[in-house]
């Protein structure tokens, strides 16, 4: 098995400094909806300039380079132990090169490790085996703390919001989460919503759905319709870029369903900031492709 440390380092550089085009395109559409001279339009202008500068300079789009979340789809027979070591080595090097901010802080002793490595769970790495003839695919998402902090989990029914255990109830709690987030999650944001599961699996799934491209709709027409409706209704609230007031609060919504216990009905909302950093590398033999 070849050493992929430098290729993974390149994945980290691209993810931190180069926003995916599909996200940038959405922001370019959003700016046209804001009044010339408004604070909302000014914020989006700054955001677009920042996207270009960071891509040109290989510097972080946002100084909060977030929790590094890796999903590794490895062909049968690959050593996941070695891949884990290579990912860690690449992350430490990326921190030295200022692609990443040292972001792993021991929660008990308040000590920053300085290299983005901490215990078994930082970075967060998920392994999934695929057939031996499939390529090795490594996906990376960087999710900042500001948007992570405004994520929310609801246990339905929710009496206060009048939200029952159905999609009508799901709609209500997601809208409530957007209103509570205001601009604090660096709006305009992208919503990852997971329905069902237990508290843990529900939150994990609400992040996993964020790996798909902008505009990707759930195959279930009921959920696809709810995705579209939630984006539109969230924008009716007028919170706007940075919470300055404006037309675009949410760029897209992605929903998925899980199985749940009869007693539980969780709805988890992961709020992703506009700096929606996700990239993928595909390794076929000696060839590495990035997208």
């Amino acid at each position: 098995m070849p050493d992929l440390t430098s290729e993974i380092l390149e994945l980290i550089r691209r993810t931190s400094s180069s926003l995916p085009r599909d996200v940038e395109d959405r922001l370019r559409v959003a700016i046209e909806k804001e009044e010339p001279g408004s604070a909302a339009r000014g914020a989006l202008e700054t955001i677009l300039k920042n996207i270009e500068l960071s891509r040109a300079n290989s510097t972080p789009i946002c100084q909060d380079t977030g929790t590094p979340i890796f999903y590794v789809h490895y062909p049968e027979g690959t050593s996941t132990r070695k891949l884990r070591e290579q990912i860690k080595a690449a992350l430490a090097e990326a921190t030295k090169r200022s692609y990443m901010r040292p972001n792993a802080v021991d929660a008990i002793y308040d000590k920053n490790t300085g290299n983005n490595l901490g215990g078994d769970d930082f970075p967060s790495i998920h392994f999934e085996e695929v057939d031996a003839d499939q390529p090795l695919v490594i996906e990376l998402m960087l999710k900042g703390g500001g948007c992570e902090n405004v994520g929310a989990q609801y246990s339905l029914p929710d009496n206060k919001l009048g939200a029952g255990r159905d999609l009508a109830g799901v709609r209500k709690v997601v809208l409530d989460a957007v209103q509570k987030a205001q601009g604090k999650g660096c709006a305009p944001g992208i919503l990852g919503v997971s329905i069902g599961g237990d508290r843990g699996s529900s939150y994990i799934k609400s992040k996993e759905v964020l790996f798909s491209k902008m505009g990707t709709r759930n195959e279930d027409p009921k959920l696809a319709a709810l995705e579209e409706r939630l984006t539109q209704e969230a924008n009716e609230m007028g919170i706007g870029p940075m919470g300055f007031g404006g037309q675009t609060t949410v760029l897209d919504t992605k929903i998925t369903g899980l199985h749940r216990l009869p007693a539980s009905y969780f709805v988890s909302v992961s709020y992703m900031c506009w700096a929606y950093r996700r990239r993928r590398m595909t390794v076929r033999g000696a060839t590495v492709e990035y997208d």
């Binding site: 920042n50 789009i61 946002c62 901010r101 604090k184 609230m237 007028g238 919470g243 007031g245």
Partner: protein
């Protein structure tokens, strides 16, 4: 567009209103969660004895904070090993976490402004009126862009103890762009948007599925 130099006097602060775009130039200091907790416990409420170089650092930061600006920011800084510091990425962090401390910190150090994102609450707004001071909102996530307004890193305090994101970095900025979203007259853009969006939410919740 108001162009304002740091240090800032009270007259200038009183002339600012929520919604005003401003460009700041001069020397400011970064400080976020660990710094606010440390300031309050050690020097404002004095529930913790000063330790190590605390008193010396306190004397030095006072001169930057008096009529100065505190930036809620945890930057990416290059040159850590060689001490040839350069700000690489330096956007604002979410300010609301400092809500329990901010008004007292403003008054204690005679701050004229804090920069952050997401806005702050009623206690800080009252602090803006009393001090007087304002809340400047920078564009969240615009880290490379904002780092380019940093002309020079003049020094750093508590780097070893707090780590890179939480340390107090003294920086000289030029034309740092912000919007006043909370002013010294008791106006908060954040309170207005929160209220209007809540009304829309209530209408949306009443809509049939």
């Amino acid at each position: 567009m108001h162009e304002i130099s740091i240090p800032i006097n009270d007259e200038t602060i009183r002339s600012l209103h929520a919604g005003d775009p401003v460009e700041l130039s001069g020397i400011m200091m970064t400080g976020r969660d660990a710094v606010h907790k440390w300031m309050i416990e050690t020097f404002v409420k004095k529930t913790r004895e000063p330790q190590g170089d605390d008193l010396q650092v306190y004397e030095e930061i006072k001169k930057y904070l008096h009529q100065g600006v505190l930036y809620h920011c945890g930057p990416v800084v290059s040159g850590i090993e060689t001490q040839d510091y350069k700000f690489v990425a330096a956007g604002p962090t979410t300010s609301i976490r400092e809500e329990p401390y901010q008004a007292d910190v403003m008054k204690h150090f005679h701050l004229k402004g804090v920069i952050g994102k997401g806005g702050m609450g009623a206690k800080t707004l009252q602090g803006c009126v009393d001090t007087p001071a304002v809340y400047f909102h920078a564009v969240g996530g615009a880290a490379t862009f904002l780092a380019q307004t940093v002309q020079k890193v003049l020094g750093v305090y508590k780097l070893e103890e707090f780590g890179v994101p939480e340390a107090m970095w003294v920086i000289e900025v030029k034309n740092f762009p912000v919007v006043v979203t909370m002013d010294s007259h008791g106006q908060s853009k954040h309170a207005l948007v929160d209220e209007s969006s809540h009304q829309v939410l209530d209408d949306l919740l009443a809509r049939p599925y």
